[in-house]
């Protein structure tokens, strides 16, 4: 397990968010150490996606505090800079279909960081190698399998050279065989010391990559524990119910 730095990478205090009358996040507080891998579990609708979307401010929060790498996230935050620090990968990859794999990865550094075309493409090729898909660089997303597309999406996010990566169910749309490829990449990111927060429903996957499991239900964090503890000795009834349902799958 990596040694956490003194200052946490992410600090969340009393985070609240509602859609109209419906409270999605209720007083969520936790912190994430530098290099730590957090897996967020919880039933559907418990607010997991909303929580991680607050970190790159794709969803603005209503109350409470988020501090990332020492900076408070609020309406004055410069979004471009924040999103260069915090990368995100989606369940449906969301690759740009009109761009080749290489262009998908090179476009963001070019337009956001104003990198030159050549520098951006070098960077892109570098990360495509990292996710083992450099040989597909000239193809269009439609020509790739789901697992390949998700690896490209990871490479694209990495091209912005973020300090934190957010994954929202990155394997939910994949075949079981493809899941392990994505898991390998996430494990290798861990080795590089990337701070990651990952929402998933894959228990094996969670167990493999997590330093710590956060279990959410109805907008609250009910448990926060190392995976061995969480999976073998869940402390709440809700977590026990959740795990028993998961295992039945």
């Amino acid at each position: 397990m990596p040694q956490p730095d003194a200052a946490p990478m992410i600090e969340v205090r009393n985070l609240q968010k509602s859609y109209g009358d419906f409270a999605v996040l209720r007083n969520v507080s936790f912190s994430v150490a530098r290099g730590e891998k957090i897996v967020i579990l919880g039933p559907s609708g418990s607010g997991k996606s909303t929580l991680i979307r607050c970190f790159n401010r794709i969803e603005p929060h209503d109350a409470g505090e988020i501090v990332i790498d020492g900076e408070r996230i609020d309406q004055t935050t410069e979004l471009t800079r924040l999103r260069c620090t915090v990368g995100m990968v989606f369940q449906n990859y969301n690759l740009f279909p009109h761009l080749s794999v290489l262009e998908n990865c090179a476009l963001p550094p070019r337009v956001v960081k104003k990198a030159g075309r050549e520098a951006a493409e070098d960077l892109a090729m570098n990360f495509l190698h990292r996710v083992n898909i450099a040989d597909q660089a000239r193809k269009y997303p439609i020509q790739l399998s789901g697992g390949q597309q998700q690896r490209v999406a990871i490479a694209r996010a990495l091209c912005m050279q973020p300090s934190v990566m957010l994954f929202d169910e990155p394997t939910a749309a994949l075949d079981p065989e493809a899941v392990s490829g994505v898991a390998d990449i996430m494990a290798s990111l861990s080795a590089d010391g990337m701070t990651t927060l990952c929402v998933t429903h894959e228990m094996g996957f969670a167990r493999r990559i997590a330093d710590r499991i956060i279990f959410m239900d109805q907008g609250r964090i009910l448990e926060s524990a190392p995976p061995e503890d969480f999976f073998t000795r869940p402390r709440t009834d809700r977590a026990r119910d959740f795990l028993s349902q998961m295992i039945r799958y």
């Binding site: 979004l79 740009f96 279909p97 009109h98 193809k139």
Partner: protein
């Protein structure tokens, strides 16, 4: 230019002497001709007003000569604006021209809104194919098809006959209206209409073109069709001045050479060049029309108008479509109202509104900078944008919201997301309907002839009116339209090649290439 210089100089001298002799009757220009006489005419009615050559800006005929004499009489320069018949009176009302002279008969109904000053006697004639037996009364046309020019008062007059026929329990005269006089005549030549209604002076001129293919079968004595008149905006003093000027031209003998020149009265010089309608397809006419500067210019105007209007429409429609896909608000309701209004109103009406009604609210639009081209460009752009908004909105809506989300998460600004992520994908979806719209816009530009834009179809009709070789000129226009449309279909194919990414098979062959 009418007449040799010496004749004009002579007339000038006469005029000056006349003025000296009668100091009370000074030829001061009436208010509608102050600073210059602008004349609206529809040059498709020889020998009154038409184009006597391939240059469609070179007008000729009785009306043109009379206008020039009036200008000389008042010492003001004369300029002509040619347009579709339907546009004449709205233009006069809007102050786009000082007077309308276009072989229009004097008509009490028109005098409610305008002042009319007669300048040439005429008479209505009913004309059928040569060899048709004459009829004894208009009632004999009961149940037959009669072709008339739309926008003229003939249709209304014939409708009165139908009231009488209905009272007598007889079938009505079936009235068919066509936009130009030559098309009216064609209906009789091809046998669709039994007869057409025209004026005797015009028919006399047409006979030479038609090789005697038609003949007068009846001459109804409608008192309200006895004179051609010049129309001006209502003003008793202007009307008196115009009537005085016409009388002065007649008294000084200036009308006679005009009428002789155009063979309305015998004498004078030979008929000026008038092509005769040959039987069969005249390949030489067709070929020379095809390469004539007039047709090339008309096609260029059509093309430029369609391209400029559509580009402007797209420029207007893209931001509007973005608003339409956003949150509800005042702006969105306003755009919705705009789209409904401009899709509901006929394009022709919008053109006439921009050209003729706008100057009544805002006099700046009466000035010379507001050309027919500009007016057509503005109205066609605004009209087309109303259709294009819907195409663009649907295309933007078809893009997965996850695309914008991914762009946001990568730190792109809203504009960067649109520019690099959404627009390139929306273009693929919008392209086929946009090209369809464009192709129909190319054809819609022909409506702009009502506001005097000399586009391809206007040029065609002016040439048909002159020569009656309609098949040849229509064929030449068709070639131009086909070339333009096929060019853009080819452009569409070229652009679509760049959308291989959307199709797995094509993407593969594209990558392999």
């Amino acid at each position: 230019m009418p007449g040799p210089l010496s004749v004009r100089t002579f007339l000038w001298v006469c005029l000056m002497l006349g003025l000296l002799a009668a100091p009370g009757a000074r030829a001061q220009a009436p208010s509608f001709a102050a600073g210059g006489l602008t004349v609206c005419t529809n040059p498709t009615l020889p020998p009154m007003t038409f184009v006597n050559g391939t240059d469609s800006s070179d007008l000729a005929g009785v009306d043109i000569d009379v206008s020039r004499r009036l200008g000389a009489y008042w010492h003001v320069p004369v300029s002509f604006v040619s347009m579709d018949f339907v546009g004449l009176f709205p233009s006069l009302e809007a102050g786009r021209c000082g007077m309308v002279i276009s072989g229009v008969v004097r008509q009490p109904a028109r005098e409610v809104k305008f002042d009319a000053v007669p300048y040439q006697p005429t008479s209505l004639v009913v004309v059928a194919r040569a060899g048709t037996a004459p009829i004894a009364a208009m009632a004999d046309l009961s149940g037959k098809v009669l072709a008339v020019q739309s926008g003229t008062s003939y249709a209304a007059r014939v409708a009165q006959e139908n009231v009488a026929l209905a009272a007598a329990g007889r079938p009505p005269i079936e009235i068919q209206q066509y936009p130009t006089e030559d098309q009216v005549v064609q209906q009789v030549l091809i046998g669709r209409a039994f007869a057409f209604v025209s004026q005797d002076v015009e028919l006399a001129f047409r006979q030479t073109q038609l090789n005697g293919k038609v003949s007068v079968i009846f001459q109804p004595d409608y008192p309200e069709f006895r004179n051609f008149a010049i129309y001006i905006r209502k003003d008793a003093r202007d009307r008196a001045a115009l009537a005085g000027a016409i009388a002065a031209l007649r008294d000084s003998g200036q009308m006679t050479p005009i009428l002789q020149r155009w063979r309305i009265i015998p004498g004078g010089g030979a008929q000026e060049s008038t092509a005769r309608a040959a039987s069969g397809f005249n390949w030489r006419t067709f070929a020379s029309a095809l390469v004539s500067p007039a047709f090339a210019r008309g096609a260029a105007i059509t093309l430029a108008m369609a391209v400029l209007s559509h580009l402007t429409a797209i420029g207007l429609a893209v931001p509007m479509a973005m608003v339409m896909n956003g949150r509800d608000g005042l702006l969105k309701s306003a755009i919705r109202a705009y789209v409904a209004l401009f899709r509901a109103a006929p394009t022709l009406l919008q053109l006439l509104f921009v050209w003729n009604a706008l100057p009544q609210f805002l006099p700046v639009f009466r000035e010379a900078w507001f050309t027919p081209f500009l007016a057509a460009w503005i109205s066609l752009s605004i009209n087309e944008a109303a259709y294009q908004v819907e195409i663009n909105r649907a295309a933007l809506q078809a893009i997965d919201p996850g695309q914008a989300l991914a762009g946001d998460a990568l730190g792109m600004t809203r504009m960067q997301v649109y520019r690099h992520v959404i627009f390139p994908q929306a273009l693929r979806i919008a392209l086929p309907s946009t090209i369809n719209e464009f192709i129909s816009l190319i054809k819609t530009t022909s409506l702009a002839s009502v506001i005097s834009l000399q586009e391809l179809l206007a040029v065609t009709q002016i040439n048909v009116a002159r020569t009656f070789e309609f098949t040849e000129y229509y064929a030449a226009a068709l070639i131009y339209y086909l070339l333009i449309v096929f060019f853009f279909l080819w452009v569409q194919k070229r652009i679509e090649r760049r959308f291989a990414w959307a199709d797995r098979l094509k993407a593969t062959s594209h990558a392999a290439a």
